[in-house]
Amino acid sequence: MATLNASAGVDWIRIHPLVVRVTHWVNALAVLIMVTSGWRIYNASPIPIFGTWRFPNEITLGGWLGGALQWHFAAMWLFAINGLVYLVYGIVSGHFRRKMLPIRPVEVLHDVQEALRGRLAHDDLSVYNAAQRAAYVTLIIVLVVLVASGLAIWKPVQFQPLADLMGGFQGARIVHFVAMATMVAIVIVHIAMVAMVPRTFPTMFTGRARRIVAGRTT
Protein backbone atom coordinates (compact mmCIF):
# COMPACT_ATOMS: atom_id res chain seq x y z
CA MET A 1 0.00 0.00 0.00
CA ALA A 2 2.68 2.44 -0.96
CA THR A 3 1.85 6.07 -1.55
CA LEU A 4 1.79 6.68 -5.26
CA ASN A 5 1.12 10.35 -5.59
CA ALA A 6 1.08 12.92 -2.82
CA SER A 7 1.53 15.96 -5.03
CA ALA A 8 -1.92 17.31 -5.82
CA GLY A 9 -3.13 17.09 -2.27
CA VAL A 10 -4.56 13.64 -2.94
CA ASP A 11 -2.92 10.51 -1.65
CA TRP A 12 -3.47 7.47 -3.86
CA ILE A 13 -2.77 4.10 -2.37
CA ARG A 14 -2.51 0.88 -4.28
CA ILE A 15 -5.06 -1.51 -2.80
CA HIS A 16 -5.49 -4.25 -5.44
CA PRO A 17 -2.41 -5.83 -7.03
CA LEU A 18 -2.50 -6.21 -10.83
CA VAL A 19 -2.62 -10.04 -10.66
CA VAL A 20 -5.69 -9.86 -8.41
CA ARG A 21 -7.46 -7.40 -10.71
CA VAL A 22 -6.79 -9.36 -13.90
CA THR A 23 -7.66 -12.75 -12.40
CA HIS A 24 -10.78 -11.27 -10.77
CA TRP A 25 -12.31 -10.16 -14.07
CA VAL A 26 -11.16 -13.19 -16.04
CA ASN A 27 -12.76 -15.26 -13.28
CA ALA A 28 -16.00 -13.28 -13.44
CA LEU A 29 -16.25 -14.00 -17.19
CA ALA A 30 -15.30 -17.67 -16.78
CA VAL A 31 -17.82 -18.10 -13.94
CA LEU A 32 -20.57 -16.53 -16.02
CA ILE A 33 -19.91 -19.00 -18.84
CA MET A 34 -19.54 -21.98 -16.49
CA VAL A 35 -22.73 -21.24 -14.57
CA THR A 36 -25.01 -20.48 -17.53
CA SER A 37 -23.77 -23.46 -19.58
CA GLY A 38 -23.86 -25.65 -16.47
CA TRP A 39 -27.54 -24.86 -16.00
CA ARG A 40 -28.26 -26.08 -19.53
CA ILE A 41 -26.35 -29.31 -18.86
CA TYR A 42 -28.30 -29.74 -15.63
CA ASN A 43 -31.58 -29.38 -17.53
CA ALA A 44 -30.78 -32.47 -19.61
CA SER A 45 -31.26 -34.63 -16.51
CA PRO A 46 -32.16 -32.89 -13.23
CA ILE A 47 -30.84 -34.42 -10.01
CA PRO A 48 -33.67 -36.75 -8.89
CA ILE A 49 -33.73 -35.67 -5.21
CA PHE A 50 -34.30 -32.07 -6.35
CA GLY A 51 -37.36 -33.06 -8.38
CA THR A 52 -37.93 -32.24 -12.02
CA TRP A 53 -37.33 -28.49 -11.71
CA ARG A 54 -35.23 -27.00 -14.49
CA PHE A 55 -33.51 -23.68 -15.12
CA PRO A 56 -35.34 -21.49 -17.66
CA ASN A 57 -33.59 -22.17 -20.97
CA GLU A 58 -33.57 -18.43 -21.74
CA ILE A 59 -30.96 -17.79 -19.06
CA THR A 60 -28.71 -20.65 -20.15
CA LEU A 61 -25.85 -20.75 -22.61
CA GLY A 62 -25.21 -23.18 -25.45
CA GLY A 63 -28.63 -23.65 -27.06
CA TRP A 64 -28.72 -27.43 -26.49
CA LEU A 65 -26.92 -30.00 -24.35
CA GLY A 66 -24.05 -30.48 -26.81
CA GLY A 67 -23.50 -26.73 -27.21
CA ALA A 68 -23.61 -26.16 -23.46
CA LEU A 69 -21.07 -28.95 -22.93
CA GLN A 70 -18.75 -27.31 -25.47
CA TRP A 71 -18.89 -24.00 -23.60
CA HIS A 72 -18.52 -25.70 -20.22
CA PHE A 73 -15.52 -27.81 -21.24
CA ALA A 74 -13.86 -24.87 -23.00
CA ALA A 75 -14.32 -22.34 -20.18
CA MET A 76 -13.26 -24.84 -17.52
CA TRP A 77 -9.64 -24.43 -18.62
CA LEU A 78 -9.86 -20.64 -18.35
CA PHE A 79 -11.58 -20.95 -14.97
CA ALA A 80 -9.15 -23.52 -13.53
CA ILE A 81 -5.89 -22.05 -14.84
CA ASN A 82 -6.90 -18.49 -13.91
CA GLY A 83 -7.96 -19.69 -10.47
CA LEU A 84 -4.66 -21.49 -10.01
CA VAL A 85 -2.72 -18.32 -10.88
CA TYR A 86 -4.78 -16.36 -8.32
CA LEU A 87 -4.36 -19.04 -5.62
CA VAL A 88 -0.61 -19.40 -6.10
CA TYR A 89 -0.17 -15.62 -6.19
CA GLY A 90 -2.37 -15.13 -3.12
CA ILE A 91 -0.45 -17.67 -1.10
CA VAL A 92 3.11 -16.90 -2.27
CA SER A 93 2.85 -13.10 -2.18
CA GLY A 94 1.18 -13.02 1.23
CA HIS A 95 -1.89 -11.33 -0.30
CA PHE A 96 -4.28 -13.79 1.37
CA ARG A 97 -2.55 -13.52 4.75
CA ARG A 98 -2.54 -9.74 4.57
CA LYS A 99 -6.05 -9.13 3.31
CA MET A 100 -8.16 -12.18 4.20
CA LEU A 101 -6.82 -13.03 7.67
CA PRO A 102 -7.58 -13.14 10.49
CA ILE A 103 -11.23 -14.14 10.36
CA ARG A 104 -12.78 -13.79 13.83
CA PRO A 105 -16.39 -15.03 14.05
CA VAL A 106 -17.40 -12.25 16.48
CA GLU A 107 -16.14 -9.59 14.06
CA VAL A 108 -17.78 -11.31 11.09
CA LEU A 109 -21.11 -11.40 12.95
CA HIS A 110 -20.78 -7.75 13.94
CA ASP A 111 -19.91 -6.60 10.42
CA VAL A 112 -22.69 -8.66 8.86
CA GLN A 113 -25.18 -7.03 11.24
CA GLU A 114 -23.83 -3.60 10.37
CA ALA A 115 -24.06 -4.38 6.68
CA LEU A 116 -27.69 -5.46 7.10
CA ARG A 117 -28.40 -2.11 8.75
CA GLY A 118 -26.89 -0.45 5.70
CA ARG A 119 -23.78 0.66 7.58
CA LEU A 120 -21.10 -1.33 5.84
CA ALA A 121 -17.77 -0.81 7.57
CA HIS A 122 -15.64 -0.12 4.54
CA ASP A 123 -14.22 3.38 5.00
CA ASP A 124 -10.64 2.31 4.48
CA LEU A 125 -10.70 0.58 1.11
CA SER A 126 -7.27 -0.91 1.67
CA VAL A 127 -8.68 -3.18 4.36
CA TYR A 128 -11.47 -5.74 3.88
CA ASN A 129 -13.98 -5.77 6.73
CA ALA A 130 -14.61 -9.04 8.55
CA ALA A 131 -17.75 -9.86 6.56
CA GLN A 132 -15.84 -9.40 3.30
CA ARG A 133 -12.95 -11.54 4.51
CA ALA A 134 -15.30 -14.36 5.49
CA ALA A 135 -17.22 -14.10 2.21
CA TYR A 136 -14.09 -14.11 0.02
CA VAL A 137 -12.47 -17.03 1.84
CA THR A 138 -15.71 -19.03 1.68
CA LEU A 139 -16.01 -18.18 -2.01
CA ILE A 140 -12.45 -19.31 -2.72
CA ILE A 141 -13.05 -22.62 -0.89
CA VAL A 142 -16.32 -23.11 -2.78
CA LEU A 143 -14.52 -22.54 -6.10
CA VAL A 144 -11.97 -25.22 -5.18
CA VAL A 145 -14.86 -27.61 -4.33
CA LEU A 146 -16.46 -26.77 -7.68
CA VAL A 147 -13.30 -27.73 -9.56
CA ALA A 148 -12.81 -30.92 -7.54
CA SER A 149 -16.42 -32.08 -7.95
CA GLY A 150 -16.31 -31.08 -11.62
CA LEU A 151 -13.27 -33.28 -12.15
CA ALA A 152 -15.07 -36.15 -10.40
CA ILE A 153 -18.09 -35.77 -12.72
CA TRP A 154 -15.91 -35.43 -15.81
CA LYS A 155 -13.74 -38.46 -14.99
CA PRO A 156 -15.56 -40.69 -12.49
CA VAL A 157 -13.51 -43.71 -13.63
CA GLN A 158 -10.06 -42.19 -14.15
CA PHE A 159 -10.39 -40.11 -10.95
CA GLN A 160 -12.38 -42.73 -9.08
CA PRO A 161 -10.87 -42.03 -5.62
CA LEU A 162 -11.90 -38.38 -5.97
CA ALA A 163 -15.44 -39.37 -7.01
CA ASP A 164 -15.59 -41.85 -4.09
CA LEU A 165 -14.90 -38.97 -1.66
CA MET A 166 -18.18 -37.44 -2.82
CA GLY A 167 -20.17 -40.67 -2.90
CA GLY A 168 -19.47 -41.56 -6.53
CA PHE A 169 -20.68 -39.97 -9.77
CA GLN A 170 -24.18 -39.06 -8.56
CA GLY A 171 -22.83 -37.80 -5.24
CA ALA A 172 -20.33 -35.59 -7.07
CA ARG A 173 -23.21 -34.14 -9.13
CA ILE A 174 -24.94 -33.11 -5.90
CA VAL A 175 -21.73 -31.62 -4.45
CA HIS A 176 -21.17 -29.73 -7.73
CA PHE A 177 -24.73 -28.39 -7.72
CA VAL A 178 -24.71 -27.32 -4.06
CA ALA A 179 -21.33 -25.61 -4.53
CA MET A 180 -22.69 -23.81 -7.61
CA ALA A 181 -25.76 -22.62 -5.67
CA THR A 182 -23.58 -21.44 -2.75
CA MET A 183 -21.29 -19.59 -5.12
CA VAL A 184 -24.18 -17.91 -6.93
CA ALA A 185 -25.69 -16.82 -3.59
CA ILE A 186 -22.41 -15.35 -2.34
CA VAL A 187 -21.75 -13.62 -5.67
CA ILE A 188 -25.22 -12.01 -5.59
CA VAL A 189 -24.48 -10.66 -2.10
CA HIS A 190 -21.01 -9.63 -3.30
CA ILE A 191 -22.43 -7.60 -6.18
CA ALA A 192 -25.08 -6.08 -3.89
CA MET A 193 -22.33 -4.98 -1.49
CA VAL A 194 -20.38 -3.40 -4.36
CA ALA A 195 -23.56 -1.53 -5.28
CA MET A 196 -23.82 -0.33 -1.68
CA VAL A 197 -20.24 0.93 -1.67
CA PRO A 198 -19.78 1.90 -5.33
CA ARG A 199 -16.42 3.53 -4.61
CA THR A 200 -14.94 0.04 -4.53
CA PHE A 201 -15.93 -0.71 -8.13
CA PRO A 202 -13.33 1.39 -10.00
CA THR A 203 -10.62 0.19 -7.61
CA MET A 204 -10.96 -3.31 -9.04
CA PHE A 205 -9.85 -1.86 -12.41
CA THR A 206 -7.35 0.82 -11.43
CA GLY A 207 -6.09 -0.83 -8.27
CA ARG A 208 -5.98 2.56 -6.56
CA ALA A 209 -8.02 4.27 -3.88
CA ARG A 210 -7.76 7.58 -2.10
CA ARG A 211 -6.02 7.36 1.22
CA ILE A 212 -8.10 8.01 4.31
CA VAL A 213 -6.50 10.47 6.73
CA ALA A 214 -8.00 10.69 10.21
CA GLY A 215 -11.34 9.38 9.06
CA ARG A 216 -11.78 11.64 6.03
CA THR A 217 -10.75 11.44 2.41
CA THR A 218 -8.07 13.94 1.49
Partner: protein
Protein backbone atom coordinates in the same frame (compact mmCIF):
# COMPACT_ATOMS: atom_id res chain seq x y z
CA UNK B 1 -28.23 -49.33 -23.23
CA UNK B 2 -26.52 -47.18 -25.37
CA UNK B 3 -26.47 -45.07 -28.36
CA UNK B 4 -27.55 -44.19 -25.02
CA UNK B 5 -26.66 -41.47 -23.04
CA UNK B 6 -27.16 -39.09 -25.67
CA UNK B 7 -30.63 -38.46 -26.55
CA UNK B 8 -33.01 -35.88 -25.66
CA UNK B 9 -33.95 -34.22 -22.49
CA UNK B 10 -36.99 -36.01 -21.21
CA UNK B 11 -39.87 -33.65 -20.52
CA UNK B 12 -42.60 -34.55 -18.11
CA UNK B 13 -45.93 -35.14 -19.81
CA UNK B 14 -44.45 -35.55 -23.26
CA UNK B 15 -43.69 -38.74 -25.09
CA UNK B 16 -40.07 -39.49 -25.88
CA UNK B 17 -40.98 -38.87 -29.48
CA UNK B 18 -42.30 -35.35 -29.05
CA UNK B 19 -39.51 -34.58 -26.61
CA UNK B 20 -37.10 -35.55 -29.31
CA UNK B 21 -38.88 -33.49 -31.91
CA UNK B 22 -38.85 -30.46 -29.66
CA UNK B 23 -35.17 -30.95 -29.09
CA UNK B 24 -34.56 -31.15 -32.83
CA UNK B 25 -36.59 -28.01 -33.46
CA UNK B 26 -34.78 -26.23 -30.68
CA UNK B 27 -31.52 -27.33 -32.16
CA UNK B 28 -32.44 -26.05 -35.58
CA UNK B 29 -33.54 -22.71 -34.14
CA UNK B 30 -30.34 -22.63 -32.20
CA UNK B 31 -28.27 -23.19 -35.29
CA UNK B 32 -30.18 -20.51 -37.14
CA UNK B 33 -29.74 -17.98 -34.42
CA UNK B 34 -26.18 -18.97 -33.85
CA UNK B 35 -25.07 -18.50 -30.33
CA UNK B 36 -27.44 -15.70 -29.56
CA UNK B 37 -29.27 -17.73 -26.95
CA UNK B 38 -28.14 -17.63 -23.43
CA UNK B 39 -26.84 -15.26 -20.91
CA UNK B 40 -23.80 -14.12 -22.84
CA UNK B 41 -25.69 -11.29 -24.45
CA UNK B 42 -22.43 -9.69 -25.42
CA UNK B 43 -22.13 -12.35 -28.08
CA UNK B 44 -25.68 -12.03 -29.29
CA UNK B 45 -25.29 -9.12 -31.63
CA UNK B 46 -22.32 -10.58 -33.38
CA UNK B 47 -22.12 -10.98 -37.11
CA UNK B 48 -22.31 -14.43 -38.66
CA UNK B 49 -18.55 -14.52 -39.12
CA UNK B 50 -17.98 -13.85 -35.46
CA UNK B 51 -20.40 -16.61 -34.56
CA UNK B 52 -18.44 -18.90 -36.84
CA UNK B 53 -15.22 -17.95 -35.15
CA UNK B 54 -16.72 -18.56 -31.71
CA UNK B 55 -17.85 -21.98 -32.91
CA UNK B 56 -14.36 -22.61 -34.27
CA UNK B 57 -12.85 -21.85 -30.87
CA UNK B 58 -15.30 -24.21 -29.20
CA UNK B 59 -14.53 -26.95 -31.73
CA UNK B 60 -10.81 -26.49 -31.22
CA UNK B 61 -11.26 -26.69 -27.46
CA UNK B 62 -13.17 -29.93 -27.99
CA UNK B 63 -10.25 -31.38 -29.99
CA UNK B 64 -7.96 -30.23 -27.23
CA UNK B 65 -10.20 -32.01 -24.73
CA UNK B 66 -9.93 -35.20 -26.83
CA UNK B 67 -6.17 -35.04 -26.43
CA UNK B 68 -6.38 -34.19 -22.74
CA UNK B 69 -8.66 -37.17 -22.13
CA UNK B 70 -6.41 -39.52 -24.12
CA UNK B 71 -3.55 -38.39 -21.87
CA UNK B 72 -5.62 -38.90 -18.70
CA UNK B 73 -6.91 -42.32 -19.83
CA UNK B 74 -5.10 -45.07 -17.92
CA UNK B 75 -5.31 -48.32 -19.93
CA UNK B 76 -4.81 -50.34 -16.74
CA UNK B 77 -7.41 -48.59 -14.59
CA UNK B 78 -10.59 -50.64 -14.29
CA UNK B 79 -14.04 -49.16 -13.77
CA UNK B 80 -15.61 -50.40 -10.54
CA UNK B 81 -17.51 -53.67 -10.69
CA UNK B 82 -20.63 -53.91 -8.50
CA UNK B 83 -22.58 -56.74 -6.93
CA UNK B 84 -25.64 -57.94 -8.83
CA UNK B 85 -27.94 -56.44 -6.18
CA UNK B 86 -26.89 -52.98 -7.44
CA UNK B 87 -28.33 -53.61 -10.94
CA UNK B 88 -30.99 -51.06 -11.89
CA UNK B 89 -34.35 -52.53 -12.90
CA UNK B 90 -35.79 -51.59 -15.29
CA UNK B 91 -32.62 -50.44 -16.99
CA UNK B 92 -33.31 -47.18 -18.90
CA UNK B 93 -33.79 -47.23 -22.65
CA UNK B 94 -32.09 -44.46 -24.56
CA UNK B 95 -31.48 -43.80 -28.24
CA UNK B 96 -31.88 -41.01 -30.74
CA UNK B 97 -35.37 -42.38 -31.41
CA UNK B 98 -38.15 -43.56 -29.12
CA UNK B 99 -38.58 -47.06 -27.77
CA UNK B 100 -41.34 -48.03 -30.21
CA UNK B 101 -38.91 -47.43 -33.08
CA UNK B 102 -36.33 -49.94 -31.86
CA UNK B 103 -34.86 -51.90 -34.78
CA UNK B 104 -35.40 -55.64 -34.59
CA UNK B 105 -32.47 -57.35 -36.25
CA UNK B 106 -33.15 -60.78 -37.79
CA UNK B 107 -30.60 -63.34 -36.67
CA UNK B 108 -30.76 -65.26 -39.94
CA UNK B 109 -29.85 -62.34 -42.17
CA UNK B 110 -27.43 -60.77 -39.71
CA UNK B 111 -23.72 -60.73 -40.26
CA UNK B 112 -21.01 -58.62 -38.73
CA UNK B 113 -18.86 -57.14 -41.48
CA UNK B 114 -15.21 -56.29 -40.90
CA UNK B 115 -13.12 -53.93 -42.96
CA UNK B 116 -10.16 -51.59 -42.90
CA UNK B 117 -6.85 -52.56 -41.29
CA UNK B 118 -7.95 -56.12 -40.43
CA UNK B 119 -6.39 -59.24 -41.98
CA UNK B 120 -9.21 -61.77 -41.69
CA UNK B 121 -12.33 -59.98 -42.84
CA UNK B 122 -14.74 -62.89 -42.98
CA UNK B 123 -18.17 -61.86 -41.69
CA UNK B 124 -19.41 -63.20 -38.34
CA UNK B 125 -22.79 -64.73 -37.55
CA UNK B 126 -24.53 -64.36 -34.18
CA UNK B 127 -23.83 -68.02 -33.37
CA UNK B 128 -20.14 -67.63 -34.16
CA UNK B 129 -19.89 -64.64 -31.82
CA UNK B 130 -21.62 -66.58 -29.04
CA UNK B 131 -19.16 -69.46 -29.54
CA UNK B 132 -16.20 -67.27 -28.57
CA UNK B 133 -14.94 -67.11 -24.93
CA UNK B 134 -17.26 -64.89 -22.87
CA UNK B 135 -17.00 -62.76 -19.71
CA UNK B 136 -19.49 -60.66 -17.76
CA UNK B 137 -19.31 -57.31 -16.01
CA UNK B 138 -21.58 -55.43 -13.57
CA UNK B 139 -20.63 -51.82 -14.22
CA UNK B 140 -22.05 -48.32 -14.18
CA UNK B 141 -23.38 -46.88 -17.43
CA UNK B 142 -22.99 -43.09 -17.32
CA UNK B 143 -24.97 -40.92 -19.71
CA UNK B 144 -23.77 -37.55 -20.95
CA UNK B 145 -27.10 -36.16 -19.73
CA UNK B 146 -26.14 -36.87 -16.14
CA UNK B 147 -28.02 -40.03 -15.20
CA UNK B 148 -26.29 -43.34 -14.55
CA UNK B 149 -27.44 -46.93 -14.16
CA UNK B 150 -25.71 -50.14 -13.16
CA UNK B 151 -26.28 -53.13 -15.44
CA UNK B 152 -24.85 -56.55 -16.15
CA UNK B 153 -23.44 -57.28 -19.57
CA UNK B 154 -21.84 -60.41 -21.01
CA UNK B 155 -19.85 -60.99 -24.17
CA UNK B 156 -16.49 -61.19 -25.86
CA UNK B 157 -13.44 -59.23 -24.72
CA UNK B 158 -12.94 -56.80 -27.60
CA UNK B 159 -9.13 -56.90 -27.40
CA UNK B 160 -9.27 -60.71 -27.88
CA UNK B 161 -11.58 -60.34 -30.85
CA UNK B 162 -9.32 -57.73 -32.45
CA UNK B 163 -6.34 -60.06 -31.98
CA UNK B 164 -8.32 -63.01 -33.41
CA UNK B 165 -9.23 -61.16 -36.62
CA UNK B 166 -5.73 -59.74 -37.04
CA UNK B 167 -6.61 -56.08 -36.53
CA UNK B 168 -3.76 -53.60 -36.76
CA UNK B 169 -3.79 -52.46 -33.14
CA UNK B 170 -1.19 -49.78 -33.87
CA UNK B 171 -3.89 -47.97 -35.87
CA UNK B 172 -5.67 -45.07 -34.18
CA UNK B 173 -9.39 -45.75 -34.43
CA UNK B 174 -12.08 -48.40 -34.56
CA UNK B 175 -15.30 -47.29 -36.27
CA UNK B 176 -18.78 -48.83 -35.90
CA UNK B 177 -21.88 -48.83 -38.09
CA UNK B 178 -25.21 -49.89 -36.64
CA UNK B 179 -28.48 -51.35 -37.92
CA UNK B 180 -30.30 -48.26 -36.61
CA UNK B 181 -28.08 -45.97 -38.74
CA UNK B 182 -26.19 -44.90 -35.64
CA UNK B 183 -22.44 -44.70 -36.00
CA UNK B 184 -19.53 -43.87 -33.76
CA UNK B 185 -15.82 -44.52 -33.31
CA UNK B 186 -13.33 -44.99 -30.49
CA UNK B 187 -9.61 -44.68 -29.83
CA UNK B 188 -7.50 -47.85 -30.01
CA UNK B 189 -6.38 -47.54 -26.36
CA UNK B 190 -9.99 -47.85 -25.21
CA UNK B 191 -10.67 -50.61 -27.76
CA UNK B 192 -7.91 -52.65 -26.08
CA UNK B 193 -9.06 -51.90 -22.51
CA UNK B 194 -9.84 -55.17 -20.65
CA UNK B 195 -13.43 -54.10 -19.83
CA UNK B 196 -14.28 -53.17 -23.42
CA UNK B 197 -16.76 -55.82 -24.49
CA UNK B 198 -18.64 -57.00 -27.58
CA UNK B 199 -21.82 -57.46 -25.61
CA UNK B 200 -24.18 -60.34 -26.44
CA UNK B 201 -26.18 -60.69 -23.20
CA UNK B 202 -27.87 -58.42 -20.68
CA UNK B 203 -28.55 -59.82 -17.19
CA UNK B 204 -27.60 -63.29 -18.46
CA UNK B 205 -30.33 -63.19 -21.15
CA UNK B 206 -29.86 -62.75 -24.87
CA UNK B 207 -29.36 -59.02 -25.46
CA UNK B 208 -32.90 -57.63 -26.03
CA UNK B 209 -33.54 -55.42 -29.08
CA UNK B 210 -33.88 -52.27 -26.99
CA UNK B 211 -30.39 -52.74 -25.56
CA UNK B 212 -28.81 -53.49 -28.94
CA UNK B 213 -29.49 -57.05 -30.23
CA UNK B 214 -27.58 -58.85 -31.51
CA UNK B 215 -24.40 -57.12 -30.38
CA UNK B 216 -23.36 -53.81 -28.86
CA UNK B 217 -20.07 -52.44 -27.64
CA UNK B 218 -19.93 -51.89 -23.89
CA UNK B 219 -17.24 -49.63 -22.44
CA UNK B 220 -17.53 -48.63 -18.76
CA UNK B 221 -14.72 -46.14 -19.43
CA UNK B 222 -16.85 -44.12 -21.85
CA UNK B 223 -20.14 -42.24 -21.79
CA UNK B 224 -23.28 -43.93 -23.12
CA UNK B 225 -23.29 -42.33 -26.56
CA UNK B 226 -19.91 -43.94 -27.29
CA UNK B 227 -21.46 -47.42 -26.75
CA UNK B 228 -23.04 -48.34 -30.13
CA UNK B 229 -25.91 -50.84 -30.31
CA UNK B 230 -26.97 -53.24 -33.12
CA UNK B 231 -23.44 -53.18 -34.61
CA UNK B 232 -23.39 -54.51 -38.19
CA UNK B 233 -19.96 -53.35 -39.34
CA UNK B 234 -16.67 -52.39 -37.78
CA UNK B 235 -13.45 -51.15 -39.27
CA UNK B 236 -9.96 -50.21 -38.16
CA UNK B 237 -8.59 -46.96 -39.55
CA UNK B 238 -6.21 -44.07 -39.05
CA UNK B 239 -8.78 -41.47 -40.11
CA UNK B 240 -11.20 -40.40 -37.39
CA UNK B 241 -14.65 -41.65 -38.51
CA UNK B 242 -16.56 -39.30 -36.14
CA UNK B 243 -19.99 -40.27 -34.89
CA UNK B 244 -23.71 -39.51 -34.95
CA UNK B 245 -23.70 -37.20 -31.93
CA UNK B 246 -20.02 -36.33 -32.12
CA UNK B 247 -20.53 -34.76 -35.56
CA UNK B 248 -23.21 -32.52 -34.01
CA UNK B 249 -21.03 -31.31 -31.17
CA UNK B 250 -20.67 -33.97 -28.50
CA UNK B 251 -17.06 -34.45 -27.50
CA UNK B 252 -15.50 -37.22 -29.58
CA UNK B 253 -13.42 -38.93 -26.86
CA UNK B 254 -16.36 -39.04 -24.43
CA UNK B 255 -14.36 -40.78 -21.71
CA UNK B 256 -15.44 -41.18 -18.12
Amino acid sequence: MSNAGKTTTSRPGLSEQSTRQIELIERRLFLQRGLSLGALSLLSGCAITEQDSVQRILDNMSYWNDRAQAAIFDPRRLAREYTESAIVDPFPFNAYYSEDEVRVVDEKSYKLELSGLITSRKPWSVAELHALPQFTQVTNHICVEGWSAIGKWGGVRFSEFLARVGADTTAKYVGFKCADDYYTSIDMATALHPQTQMTLTFRDQLLPPKYGYPMKLRMPTKLGYKNPKHIVAMFVTNTNPGGYWEDQGYNWFGGS
